[in-house]
């Protein structure tokens, strides 16, 4: 009997593996659950990210002077004052909020009291991700660069002249792969993160849908990852979703006809997609949930 069960589970595992590769939108979207605006009246929203509870943080890169917070009840407040021109935000394992200060040309982090510490000056950061072990990777879009700030604070260029306009940046669920979207091309590139934090083997792994009027430029922007390893990338055509092997699952419509530039999973159970789109922040409920990179990634059991 046990043998039969074991064999069956092996079969199921095989079939499950095959099925897992096919990831249509219906695995994520819920009928009747569309985009809902959760914050309005901004200039140009950006930098959505989540904390461990699912509270959402975002910036207004054009006209805002603060970092906003949307709590689980939907209440919007000013979380950090005197924080203008921010284009990328992520919480890290040290309990601090890391930020790309595009206008001030700095990468900084804020502690819970809002005290700011500068990590890099005279840079042109667009978006960032922080690994569980404290490596910051950020994009410098016009310079065609990806840079890394290691936990000791040392900054290095880890990719140059690979991605035309590196913009959005995320990790695989196991944090072994870095994914970077191209604002000036049509691919999301993947890199292997080496043990020393350097990047290797860049590959144009995901091909984005592009507008018919501009077939070579997808305007890939902010990215997110869910617990099943799907990648999400904002773009001119909408929020594009890919399975972990780089195959497109589908394109989720924009909430409004405006720049869709940032996405994250947040809210109760991390099961809501939040996006920054023009003057508003929107969310919608999904069947999946996000991953938080400041938490220990789930790894396969050691053999």
């Amino acid at each position: 009997m046990m043998r039969a069960i074991v064999i069956f589970l092996l079969l199921l595992g095989w079939a499950g593996g095959v099925l897992a590769q096919d990831m249509p939108l219906s695995q994520v979207l819920i009928d009747g659950e569309g985009w809902q605006a959760v914050s309005e009246g901004h200039g140009f929203t950006d930098g959505v990210c989540s904390d461990a509870e699912g509270n959402v943080y975002f910036s207004d890169v054009r006209s805002g002077q603060v970092i906003y917070k949307v709590d689980l009840d939907g209440k919007v407040s000013e979380f950090i004052k005197d924080a203008a021109g921010i284009s990328g935000l992520q919480w890290a394992a040290d309990g601090k909020l890391y930020a790309c200060v595009a206008r001030g040309r700095m990468v900084v982090r804020f502690d819970k009291e809002g005290k700011m510490e500068i990590l890099a000056k005279e840079v042109r950061p667009n978006d960032l991700v922080v690994t569980h072990d404290g490596n910051v990777y950020f994009t410098q879009t016009p310079e065609k660069e990806i840079r890394r700030i290691d936990p000791s604070g040392k900054m290095t260029v880890v990719s140059k002249d690979v991605v035309t306009k590196p913009n959005g940046i995320t990790l695989s669920a196991d944090q072994g792969t870095l994914a970077v979207s191209d604002y000036g091309g049509k691919y999301v590139w993947t890199f292997r993160i080496e043990k020393d934090g350097s990047l290797s083997y860049p590959q144009n792994y995901m091909m984005m849908r592009t507008p018919h009027s501009n077939p070579e430029v997808a305007k890939g922007d902010g990215m997110a990852t869910d617990a099943d390893g799907r990648y999400y990338v904002t773009s001119a055509e909408g929020l594009q979703m890919y399975d972990p092997t780089g195959r497109m699952g589908g394109v989720i419509a924009k909430p409004q006809n405006a720049g869709l530039v940032s996405a994250t999973f947040a809210g109760p159970g991390l099961s809501y997609l939040y996006v920054a789109c023009g003057d508003k922040i929107y969310r919608r409920k999904t069947k999946t949930k996000g991953v938080l990179f400041f938490q220990q990634p789930k790894l396969d059991k050691q053999k």
Binding site: M1, L11, E194, Q203, T245
Partner: protein
Amino acid sequence: MMLNPFARLVLSTLVLSASLVSADDKEYKPGPDAMPKEGVPKGVVTKHEWKSKIFPGTVRDYWVYVPAQYDGKSPAALMVFQDGGGIIREKGSFRAPIVFDNLIAAGEMPVTIGLFINPGVVPPAKEGQKGRKNRSYEYDTLSDQYARFMLEEMIPELEKKYKITKNPEGRGICGNSSGGICAFTVAWERPDAFRKVVSHVGSFTNIRGGHVYPALIRKTEKKPLRVFLQDGKNDLDNLHGNWPLANQQMAKALEFSGYDYKFVFGEGVHSGRHGGAILPDTMRWIWRNWKEEKY
């Protein structure tokens, strides 16, 4: 026997899934040409590993089949199989080495070296991570990259040890599912290097844009390819497309443009059972005039 609820659930699911998976595939079984025959000399299969530069960072296994009749002097024909690890299994659906032994001995296909190759993976840097699976990228992408991988890496590596024909008529490439569209792409991109294509349950669907092939075939000057397609009416219908319709479109496009092609459309699902069952006849058809072609 009293079963606990979990065991009952497992058993009922087992029965259900068994009926779903195999109902339409049961009739397809390996035939006598896929069984070892007395007096037929056996070729030798060796396993190797390859680190690619064209697919940077990838590692993969591959197997080389060398028939007993290969003499090291006359160039051999070449047959490449994607997802090769499954194709060489002696208890699998294809059992290609045994089929090759039998058909070569009978003079029904040329002395052929088989290259059975798995897709690449970029292994993880740290233990417990998953690495980057490269199968879809390598097989489903419409470009010459996989053809260059064959022509600039794998075939030169084989040629270090074996004489392989330079005549593209003597070079075939075969695959299942995404491996099938990959086989077609290699020959489509490089008909100067490969002219025989075998696709089983081929993914001529929009995984990475491969659904355009029927349209391209109709509006491109005919290429000198011989194409064998197999699919089943119960094959996949999912976000990427409908496999039975896509393969029928491929067959009709090949017919429209005057290709030397054959389409076998059965009852099967998305599996190799039908393609495996008919592999000997497929090899006979694809190599049918090999004695007139000079390798």
